[in-house]
């Protein structure tokens, strides 16, 4: 038993400007096992992992790798000892090739003359071991997000990593790619590599982990074998209270058609998409990554131009040339990429919430600050954003709270339709539940809602009808009663 522990964390504590973010956390990581680290955002998972890889120094406690103290080493030294992290945001040099990225920082050379064929050859070997069909010579910028993730893993393996930390590795992967990843994790386990796995997706956790540790408010709540847990217990441990029903049911009378899309198409992306959404209705868009779901959303929100078809809002055909056009017509869009498209990081919560509707609060170009504060305050309060105040900068909020601010901005512009693209990506259980409730509230108010999600339970739990896409083509529209995970997948893979 003892020699199976490859990594030991003893009584780790850390404070930021007087606030304890980790308190006395001890963990043992076993060889050849997947150890899941669970907790809401702000529970201390990321801080703990940053300490582990040397990005941060703990205030107290020590870390032992195979009995050797590594807690005071530099990032490079810890990497050299065999602890690698696959980051949530992929860190690679886009202009360099796959092989150059894998061997970045440890290039093989003779008198500083790079040996390209050797690293290409070695990379090919590593990629083949992972059963990946990626050329080592292709530039990373030309790879899909999923492939980039796989290259990151290949890079970790090339470092002879004994412990690999994966932070939300599946957040950008399609179902099929997730299967590939899990296959790779399985083979890493067989080679004796220990894996620390961070994810908010319950089904994944139970599928692959051997041990589950729950952190809450910087404290270790429990470490148990996966088979001793179920999702109900796990959620309770994470949030510290019971969430009665993950998907609150709602019976809302469905009203007039708000949006009607006919033969919508964009060259080489999607074609012949037809649907309508009525007031008080949620339409789900399901499909694999790359099926064209987000692209349809972007077109309706005015971010991309369409080549074919029409969009009618309340029976009137519309011309959408920019996001500004869409917002004026009452189309709200919560993007899947909240960092890139959602908010202005250096601006305050108030300024972000009012950004799309600023002209409403202004006279002759001057902002009526009083009116702006009053109106945004109402939205801010109703969304229960966890922040030190209204004028906190959005950059300092957690992912879930940033998402609430983005939703607040969309609500401020008084939309008739809201498109939610992966609204709960990277968000903890508590905040997820609040977003589900919010979608139901908006539905009850008579808004038409389009929901895109890669999490099947969300699609099945929240949508009245589900449109399934595959490779840019509309395959089926299923009603809530006829939809099931199997049926959706069946259409999605065709």
């Amino acid at each position: 038993m003892l020699q199976n522990n490859i990594l030991t964390l003893n009584n780790i504590s850390k404070s930021f400007s007087g606030i304890k973010v980790l308190e006395d956390v001890s963990l043992k990581i076993e060889k050849g096992k997947v150890h899941a680290l669970m907790g809401e955002n702000g529970a201390g998972k990321s801080t703990l992992m940053k300490i582990l890889v040397g990005l941060l120094q703990a205030d107290a406690g020590e870390i032992l790798l195979e009995g050797e103290v590594i807690s005071r080493l530099s990032v490079q030294a810890i990497l050299g000892k065999g602890i690698a992290m696959i980051h949530q945001e992929i860190l690679m040099v886009p202009e360099l090739s796959v092989a150059q990225n894998i061997f970045l920082g440890k290039e093989s050379h003779r008198f500083s003359w790079l040996n390209a064929s050797e690293i290409n050859h070695k990379s090919k070997q590593i990629l083949a071991d992972l059963k990946l069909n990626i050329s080592p010579k292709i530039k990373v910028k030309n790879l899909s997000i999923a492939d980039r993730q796989m290259v990151e893993i290949a890079k970790a393996i090339s470092n002879r990593a004994k412990v690999i930390i994966m932070d939300e590795p599946t957040s950008a992967l399609s179902e099929i790619e997730v299967v590939t990843l899990f296959g790779i994790i399985e083979s890493l386990k067989n080679q004796g590599v220990a894996i620390i796995y961070i994810s908010h997706k319950m089904d994944e956790i139970f599928k692959i982990s051997d041990t589950i540790t729950v952190l809450r408010d910087g404290k270790l709540i429990s470490t148990k074998k996966a088979e001793e847990m179920d999702s109900q217990i796990l959620i309770k441990l994470m949030v510290g209270r019971e969430i009665a029903e993950l998907f609150p049911t709602s019976n809302i009378e469905i009203g007039q058609t708000i949006i009607s899309v006919k033969n919508l198409g964009r060259k080489n992306v999607f074609s012949d998409v037809n649907f309508e959404v009525k007031a008080g209705e949620v339409l789900g868009l399901a499909g694999l990554v790359g099926a064209g779901r987000s692209e349809i959303a972007r077109a309706i929100a005015g971010l991309d131009k369409i080549d074919a078809g029409t969009i009618e809002i309340e029976g009137v055909e519309t011309q959408l040339d920019s996001p500004s056009d869409a917002i004026k017509l009452g189309i709200g869009f919560v993007s899947e990429d909240r960092k890139a498209l959602g908010f202005i990081p250096q601006m305050t919560i108030k300024d972000n919430i009012s950004l799309s509707s600023l002209e409403v609060f202004s006279k002759m170009g001057f902002v009526n600050t009083k009116e702006e504060i009053n109106s945004t305050q109402i939205v801010y309060n109703s969304l229960k954003v966890k922040a030190s105040g209204f004028s906190q900068k959005v950059i300092n909020l957690s992912g879930g709270n940033q998402q609430k601010v983005v939703i607040g901005k969309v609500l401020m512009s008084n939309p008739k339709i809201i498109i939610f693209d992966e609204p709960t990506r990277g968000i903890d259980v508590g905040a997820k539940f609040e977003i589900y409730k919010l979608i139901n509230t908006l539905k009850a108010k008579g808004l038409a809602i389009i929901l895109i999600s890669s999490e099947m339970p969300e699609i099945l739990g929240l949508c009245d009808r589900i449109l399934v896409l595959s490779k840019g083509k509309q395959k089926a529209i299923l009603s809530k009663s006829e939809a099931s995970q199997e049926k959706i997948m069946q259409y999605a893979v065709h």
Partner: protein, 313 residues
């Protein structure tokens, strides 16, 4: 914490006060009305340019062409002011229009071609200098009307006219950036251009307006300079763009966009003026003045990046 925050926000202002205290202690001439009138009058041209440049830098851009626009606008205004039969307003209007046209040209190329602002304004800087030389045939333009020369040299109740212009432009720029929809959009674009666009902001329109504003203010600065030296000089304003950028940066405008204030830029411009003036009073050679000025710019940016780190950690 509140103290640290205040220090961070007003760090430059405190540094400015400290330097003023030091200079008034070491030089008896420093803290006199006549000396300060000189300082502010000298600062006024750089401050006008720096206000415009602040808007541009907050959107995440840069404008290297303002020095050349000073020359073109000055030459245009001087050509018109040297015609005895034309009223004053024509030459002022001509100078401002020249600045506006160059600003619009910057904005148009930047928004339509997506070429980096650094490159576009570098090109316009060279074109502008060439046009100033062409229009003036390479010679200084003198014999300007008395009314024109009043702009840079005259005073009202003892207050030099350039100071009055500076105060008015300061108030307008301050309100524009702080209290208008336009100002909010300027910050939003610099903070995250994609998100600003997705939030319904007409990014190209705002950027055009920002470069046009910067060009027009450079035009105004050109009129002021020409009037003060009572000659249209095609070589005037060379290197002014760097002083303007320095004032904005010392005043806390981040070159990565999204942050900065007009009040900060005014302090930045005053700081440069006070240091130059103080070093003159202390008989420090102008060679050393340049070294000191460079160190101050880097110090201000260090302060800024230290703040950024604190903010994100």
């Amino acid at each position: 914490m509140p103290f640290i925050n205040a220090l961070r926000q007003y760090g430059i202002f405190l540094a400015f006060l400290l330097i003023c205290c030091f200079l008034s202690y070491t030089s008896s001439q420093f803290l006199t009305v006549s000396n300060w009138t000189i300082i502010i009058t000298q600062v006024s041209i750089n401050a006008l340019l720096a206000f415009g440049v602040t808007f541009v830098i907050i959107t995440g851009g840069i404008d290297l062409s303002v020095g050349s626009i000073v020359a073109v606008a000055g030459v245009v205004a001087a050509l018109l002011a040297s015609q005895p039969d034309l009223p004053l307003i024509v030459s002022i209007f001509g100078g401002l229009l020249a600045g506006l046209v160059f600003g619009l040209l910057n904005g148009l190329i930047i928004t339509k071609s997506k070429i980096a602002p650094f490159i576009v304004t570098l090109g316009i800087m060279t074109i502008g200098r060439g046009l100033a030389l062409i229009l003036s045939k390479g010679r200084p333009i003198s014999n300007l009307s008395d009314s024109f020369n009043f702009i840079g040299g005259g005073d009202i109740f003892g207050i030099p006219f350039p100071i009055i212009i500076l105060v008015i432009v300061f108030i307008i720029s301050y309100l524009l950036l702080k209290n208008t929809v336009f100002g909010r959009y300027v910050y939003a674009i610099g903070g995250n251009e994609q998100a600003a666009w997705a939030s319904g902001i007409n990014v190209n329109k705002i950027k055009m307006a920002v470069y046009a504003l910067c060009g027009t203010l450079a035009g105004l600065a050109g009129i002021l300079l020409t009037s003060r030296i009572t000659t249209g000089q095609p070589n005037a304003g060379a290197g002014f763009e760097l002083d303007a950028i320095a004032a904005a940066i010392i005043g806390g405008t981040s070159t990565s966009g999204g942050t900065g204030t007009i009040a900060g830029t005014l302090i930045g411009a005053l700081l440069i003026g006070v240091i130059n003036n103080g070093l003159d009073l202390l008989n420090v050679s102008s060679y050393y003045q340049q070294v000191i000025m460079g160190a101050i710019i880097i110090g201000a940016v260090l302060l800024d990046s230290w703040n950024q780190k604190r903010l994100t950690s």
